[in-house]
Amino acid sequence: METAALIVVLVIALALFFDFTNGFHDTANAMATPIATGALKPKVAVGLAAGLNLVGAFLSTEVSQTVSHGLIRESQIDHLAFLPLIFAGLIGAVAWNMLTWLLGLPSSSSHALFGGLIGATLVGFGVAGVDFGVLLSKIILPAVLSPLTAGIIAFVVTRLAYGITRRYDGKPDGRSGFRWGQIFTSSMVALAHGTNDAQKTMGIITLALIMAGWQSQTEAEPHIWVIFACAFTIALGTYLGGWRIIRTLGKGLTDVKPAQGFSAETSTAATILASSALGFALSTTQVASGSVIGSGLGRRGSKVRWGTAGKIAVGWLLTLPAAGLVGALAALIVRWLGPWGILVDAVLALVIIVALFLRSRRDAVTAANAMSDVAESGRAVKVKKNPPPTRRQRAILREQERQKAEEKARRKAEERERERRRLDEQARAKAEKKARAKADAKKSSDEKKKSDAKKKADARAHAGGKKKADDAAKKTVGTPKKKADDAAAGDGKKKASTGKGPR
C-alpha cells in the first residue's frame, strides 16, 4: 500500500508538471492572434490567459470524466498493477512533448497524454484494458473532426465579418474595431483552454486515485482539491510561458488581420466549449490551427500551401501513436524491472524535467524550438496582398467602366457635334459674306447706274430748264408780272454790279 501511495504521489506530481507544461506550451494558442494583430500587449495577454485558464478549469468536468471513467476499462484490470502504468504513460507523454518541442515539430499535449496512457495500458493489460469505443468516439474522431469543424466555422464567420463590414464607397470601414473584440474572443479561447486541457490532468489524477482506492469508482466528479491544484498549475504554466511568446510569437502570423483573428478565435472558443460540454477531449492546438487556416481561407484571394498544411497534419497524426510508443516503452521497463522499473522511470522523468527546465532557461529561442504551432498553421495559407474584388465590387467596377465609356462616347459625340456646328457656322458665314459681297456689289453697281442715270437726268433737266427759262423770259416782257420779275431781276443785277446792295 505504501508503494501505491508513493506511486500516486509520483503520478500526481508528474501529472501536475504535465499540466504546467501544457499551460506553458498552449498560451500561444489562446493569445497568438491578439498579440499578432496588436489587440493586446503581450504581458496583459499572458496575464489574462492565466486568469481565464484558472476560471475555465472550474466550469466543467465532462472531459475529466471521459479520462477517468470511460477510456480505461477499470473492471477488466488490476487496479494496483495499473498505477505504475499510469506513471509510465505520463512519462511517455512528457517525453514526447519535450522531444517535439525541442525539434520544433507540431504536436498536441493532449494527444501525447492519451497516447502515453493508451500505450502503457496496452502493454500492461492488452486490448481488453482500453475501451476502443470511447477512444474512437471521444478522442480519435474529435481529434480528426475538431480542426475541420473549427476550420469550416472560421471560414464561414470570416466571410460574414468581412461581408458585413465591407464598404463599397472607399470610406473607412472601421475594421480595426475588431481589435476590441479580440480582447474578448482571446479571453474566451483561454477560458475554453482551461475548460478542456486542465480537465485532462484532473482525469488522470482522478484515475490514479480510483486505482489506489482513494476515490469511489462510482464517484464521477474529481475531488475539489484536484480541481484547484490543476487549475492553479495550468494558470501558473500559462503565466510563466508568456515571456517566450513575447519574443517568438507572430513569426508566421504577421498577416493576420483583426477581423480574421476575431473570427478565428470565436470559432476556436465555440468549438472547444461545445466539445467540452459533451466530454470530447480535444487538442486546443489543433483546433486553434484549424481556425487560423479556415479564417485565412475566408479572406479573398487566399490559397492553401499544401506542403506546410500536410506537414502539420502528419505531425498531428503522429502524436498519438508516437506518444503511445514512448508510453509503452516506459511501461515495458516497469513490467521487466518491477518496482525498480518505476524508479528507472522516475529518474527518466527527472532527467526530462531538468532538461526541459535547462532548455527553457537558455537564451536561444527560435521559431524551431518555441511554441509556434499556431503560427506554423498561419503559414499554411497564402493570402494575397491585393485580393481580387468581390462580385458586388466587380459589378460596381463594371458599372463605373460602363459609365466612363458612356461619358467618353457622349463627350466624343458632343465634340463631333460642336465641330459640325462650327463647320456649318463657318460655311454659313462664308456664304453670307459672299452673298453680302454680291449684294453689295450689286447695290453699288445699281447705285452707280442710278447715279449715272440721275446725273444724266439732271443734266437733261438742267439743259431743259435753261431753255424754258429763256423762253419764259421772252414771254414776261409782254405781261405786267413778267415786267415786275424782270424789274426785280434787273434791280438785283444792278445792286450786285454797283456794290450797294444789302450785306
Binding site: 468516439s137 473532426l145 469543424t149 469550416i152 466555422i153 472560421a154 470610406k171 470601414d173 470565436t266 459533451l278
Partner: protein, 110 residues
C-alpha cells in the same frame, strides 16, 4: 467487439459551435458597421508594436483617424439617423455579449 459512435453528438457540436460563432461574429460586425454608419469609425491602433506586428504603424493610424473624421463630417445622415445607428450599434454589441454569456451559462449548466 462493437463500437457505438454517437455521430449525432458531432453534429450537435458542429451546429452549436457554428450558431454560437455566427451570433457572436454577426452581432459584433453589425455593431461595428452601425458604429461606422453613425459616423464614429473606430480606429484602434495596436496595443504594442512588437517586431511581429506589421499591421498598422502609428503614422498609418493617425492617417486612418483623419480619414475617419473626414468621412464622419461628410456623412449624409441626419443627427437623428446617426443617433439611431449608434443605438443599434450598442444594441448589437450587447447582444453579442449576451450570446457569449449564454454560451458559457449553457456549458456550466450542462
Amino acid at each position: 467487439m462493437s463500437v457505438a459512435i454517437d455521430w449525432l453528438a458531432f453534429l450537435r457540436v458542429f451546429l452549436v459551435a457554428l450558431v454560437g460563432a455566427l451570433l457572436v461574429v454577426g452581432f459584433y460586425s453589425t455593431g461595428l458597421r452601425l458604429l461606422v454608419r453613425a459616423g464614429r469609425v473606430p480606429v484602434v491602433a495596436p496595443a504594442e508594436f512588437t517586431d511581429a506586428i506589421t499591421v498598422i504603424s502609428p503614422k498609418q493610424a493617425a492617417r486612418a483617424e483623419k480619414a475617419a473624421a473626414k468621412a464622419a463630417r461628410k456623412s449624409p445622415l441626419s443627427d437623428a439617423q446617426k443617433m439611431l445607428a449608434r443605438i443599434g450599434a450598442y444594441a448589437s454589441f450587447t447582444l453579442c455579449g449576451l450570446a457569449v454569456a449564454a454560451g458559457i451559462l449553457l456549458i456550466v449548466l450542462h
